[in-house]
Symmetry: none
Subunit: 216 residues, 4 copies
DNA sequence: TATGAATGAGTGTTCATTCAT
DNA sequence: TATGAATGAACACTCATTCAT
C-alpha cells in the first residue's frame, strides 16, 4: 500500500502542490521555503539526479512526510524552483537597457552579466537542468526555453539597435558563455575575484561585438 | 554501488579491467568496442546518472554478464571513455598553431573550434561529467582537469604570443563558450548549419581578442 | 533512481511481463511458477490489499528483485493469476452438460459445484477481487466479468432447456451461492465434509429449480 | 499502526473512545455521526483496507485531528460501525416469525431478505469485513460471528419447525446467498428492480426447502 | 471542540552487481 | 567468451497517528 498512484477521483485536496490547490498559513509557507532552500542547496551540491529526497529533508531539518506535504515529488520541487527562477530571469530580460558601442554599453553588459550570475548563484541547478535537457517534466523545460529565449532575444535586439552584427548563432554563443561563466564562478566559489572578472569579460564581449578599443 | 570490487582474487583472469591487465583477442576487442559505443550513446541520451547498465547492454546487444567481463562498474566504463577522450583533447592541444591578428588567426581558431566540436560529438557526456564535477571517481576528474588545462594553456600562450590580452579569466570564458557551443550544436543536431556558425563564431572571438575588423 | 516511471522509449525488453515479451527458459518458468503459487497463498491468507510483496517473495524463497523480474507490480501478479483462473472457469463453462429434472440433473449440478470449488481452492482471492470490484486494473475486471457471465449464461440455458424457470436474477443468486459456498468451504478448511455438503447443496438447488422430491 | 494507544492516562478526557467512556454534547455527537457516515461511505467505495483516514475526514469535512478525537484508530471506527450493524442484525434475528410451507412462509422469507438487504445497504463493508475475516480486531470479528450465527440459528429453527430439512450446511448456503444477493444489489445499485427480484428469490428459496409449487 | 502541520515506520520498486551454466 | 537469472541495498513515496495552536 505504498507507491501506487492515486486511484479514485473522489479526492479533492491533493497534498504536495506548491503553487496551487492549498492555502498555506504562515507556518506552512515557512516550511515550504525551508524545503525549497534546502532543495536548491542539495541540487547544487550533488546534482539533481543524484540528490536524494532524504538529503533534502535532512538539510531542511524536516521529515520525509513533510516534504510530500508540499511537493508531489522531487521533480515537483524542481518545478517549483523553476517557476521562481524563470520569474527572475524574465525580470532580468525586461530590465535590459540599450547597449551601445560606448562605455555605457560595457556597463550595461556588465550589469546583465552580474545579475545573471546572481540568479545563477541561487538557481544554478535549475538552469543546468534546463540546458542539459535531462529532466522529463514538460513544464519545467518549457519555462526554461521561454526564459532563455526571452533574454537572448532582448540582448540581440539591443545589440542590433546599436549596429552590432548580432545574428542568432552569435547570440547563442553569448548566452552559452554567460551560463558557463556563471557556473564556474558559482561552483568554484570565486566570489572575491568576481568583480574584476566581470569587468574583463564585459569588456571582451563588448569588443567582440563592437570592435571598439577599450581598456583591459 | 553495493558489492565490493573483486580485485586481486586468486583467478588469473580478473574481469572488469578495460584498458589494462588483460590481453584481448579480436572478438573481445570487438565486444568491448560495442559496449563503449553503446555507453557513449546511452550517456548522451539519458545522462550519466540516469543511464542504466541495462540500457547500455541492451543498446550493445550484449548481456549484463558480458558488461562486467570488460568493465568493473558503470563508473569504470566512464573512466575508459574518459581516457579516450582525454587522448583526443590532448592531441588537439598539441596541434594548436599560432593565432595571430590576421585572417590566418581566424582560420586557426576555427580549426580548433571545429575539432573540439567533433570530439564533443562523440564524448560530450564525458566532458559534461567533468565540468559538472558530479562523478566521484578521482581519476576521471584528474583526466578532465588536465586535458582542459592543457588546451586552455596553449590557447592562452598562442594568443599572448600575438599580443592579445589573454588573461586566465578570459581564457576560461573562451573555454566555456567552446564547450557550450559544442554542446548546443551536438545536442540540437545542427550539423547542417555548423559550418557557417563556426565561421561567425571564430570571427567574433577573434575580434574579441584582437579588436580587428573582419568579414562575417 | 527508484520509483520513477520509465522514461525514454528506447527500452525494448521490459522485465516483469509474464504473459508476453520474454521467452523464459526452464529455470525462469520454474521461478515464475513459484512466485505465482506463493502469491496465491499469501493473497489467500492476508487478502490482496494487505499482502505485501515482501510476504510473497519470502513465501517463494526468492528475492525482491526476482519478483520484479517476472511481474511489473503486485497488480501484475494478480493479473497473471486472473488469466489462469479465467481459463479454468471458461473451461468449466464449456463442459456443462444438460441439467434435467431427474437425478442426472442433480449429478451434473453437483459436478459443477465441485469443479467450481476446486478452482476456488486455488484462485479464491482472484475471484473475490473480481466480485468485490476493488482492484483498479481494467483487464483483471474484464476477465472476471466474462468468465462469470459465461458460466451463468450456460447454466441458465441448461436449466431452461429442461423447463426450469431460470430468469437472470435467480441465476445470479445461484452464482452468488456458488461463490460463497466455495469460499466458506475453502476458507474454513472443511474439505472432509465437503462431499456430503455438496450432495445436500446440489439437491436443494435442484429442488429450488425443479420442485422435485429428493432425498436429503 | 505505529504509536501506542494512549489509554488510562492522567487526563480526564481520553480521546478516541466512541461508544463509551465519554459524555458527548450535541455538537460532539453530530461530529461523530458525520465521521461514521463518511467512514461507511468511504469503506463502501474503496474497501476497508484501501480506505485512508484522509479520505474519511475529507468526506466528513473534518480534520485529521478531529477524527482522533472520536476514534482511537481506523479500526476503532470499524468497531463502532460493527456495533451498530450487529445491533440491527440481532434485531432482525429477533423479529423472524414462523416460516411455513404455505405462501405466508414465502412472505416472511421475503421480509427477512428485504430487511437484510436494507441493513446491508448501510453496513455492507462491515459485513464483508466480517465474512472475509481480514480484520485483525478480535471484538469486531466476535460481533460478526454472533450476529450471523443468531440469524442462521433462528432461520434454521423456523424452517425445521415447519418440517423443512434445514441442516447446518444448507442454512450456511442460505446465509451465503443472502449476503451475496444483498451485495450485488447494493453494489450494482439495482434498487429499482429489487422488489421483483426479492419476490423471485424468496420463491425459489422457499421451494428449495419445501418443494412446493408457487407462483413466480 | 477543532484544526492543519509534522512525523516516521512501512512498503513498492529499481538497478548495479554477482553467479551458475 | 557469453548469457540470463538472482540478489539486496537503496530510494521514492504513503499514510496512520500525534502535536501545537
Amino acid at each position: 500500500m505504498s507507491a501506487p498512484r492515486r486511484r479514485g477521483a473522489s479526492r479533492v485536496i491533493v497534498p504536495g502542490s506548491p503553487a496551487d490547490s492549498r492555502e498555506l498559513r504562515a507556518q506552512g509557507r515557512r516550511t515550504m521555503g525551508k524545503l525549497m532552500d534546502a532543495g536548491m542547496r542539495v541540487f547544487a551540491e550533488r546534482g539533481y539526479h543524484a540528490a536524494r529526497v532524504d538529503d533534502i529533508v535532512h538539510a531542511a531539518r524536516a521529515s520525509h512526510g513533510t516534504f510530500y506535504l508540499y511537493f508531489a515529488s522531487k521533480e515537483d520541487l524542481l518545478r517549483a524552483l523553476a517557476v521562481e527562477c524563470a520569474g527572475e530571469l524574465e525580470a532580468l530580460a525586461g530590465s535590459v537597457g540599450p547597449i551601445g558601442p560606448d562605455s555605457n554599453g560595457i556597463d550595461e553588459l556588465r550589469r546583465v552579466l552580474e545579475q545573471f550570475t546572481r540568479t545563477y548563484r541561487r538557481y544554478g541547478p535549475v538552469v543546468r537542468a534546463w540546458l542539459e535537457g535531462q529532466v522529463d517534466d514538460r513544464e519545467v523545460n518549457r519555462l526554461g526555453v521561454r526564459a532563455f529565449t526571452e533574454i537572448a532575444t532582448v540582448l540581440g535586439e539591443r545589440l542590433r539597435d546599436s549596429g552590432a552584427p548580432a545574428d542568432p548563432a552569435t547570440i547563442a554563443a553569448l548566452m552559452a558563455m554567460l551560463e558557463r561563466f556563471a557556473y564556474f564562478h558559482v561552483s568554484r566559489g570565486l566570489d572575491a575575484e568576481e568583480s574584476t572578472t566581470l569587468d574583463t569579460l564585459a569588456c571582451v564581449v563588448h569588443r567582440g561585438f563592437f570592435r571598439a578599443t577599450a581598456a583591459a
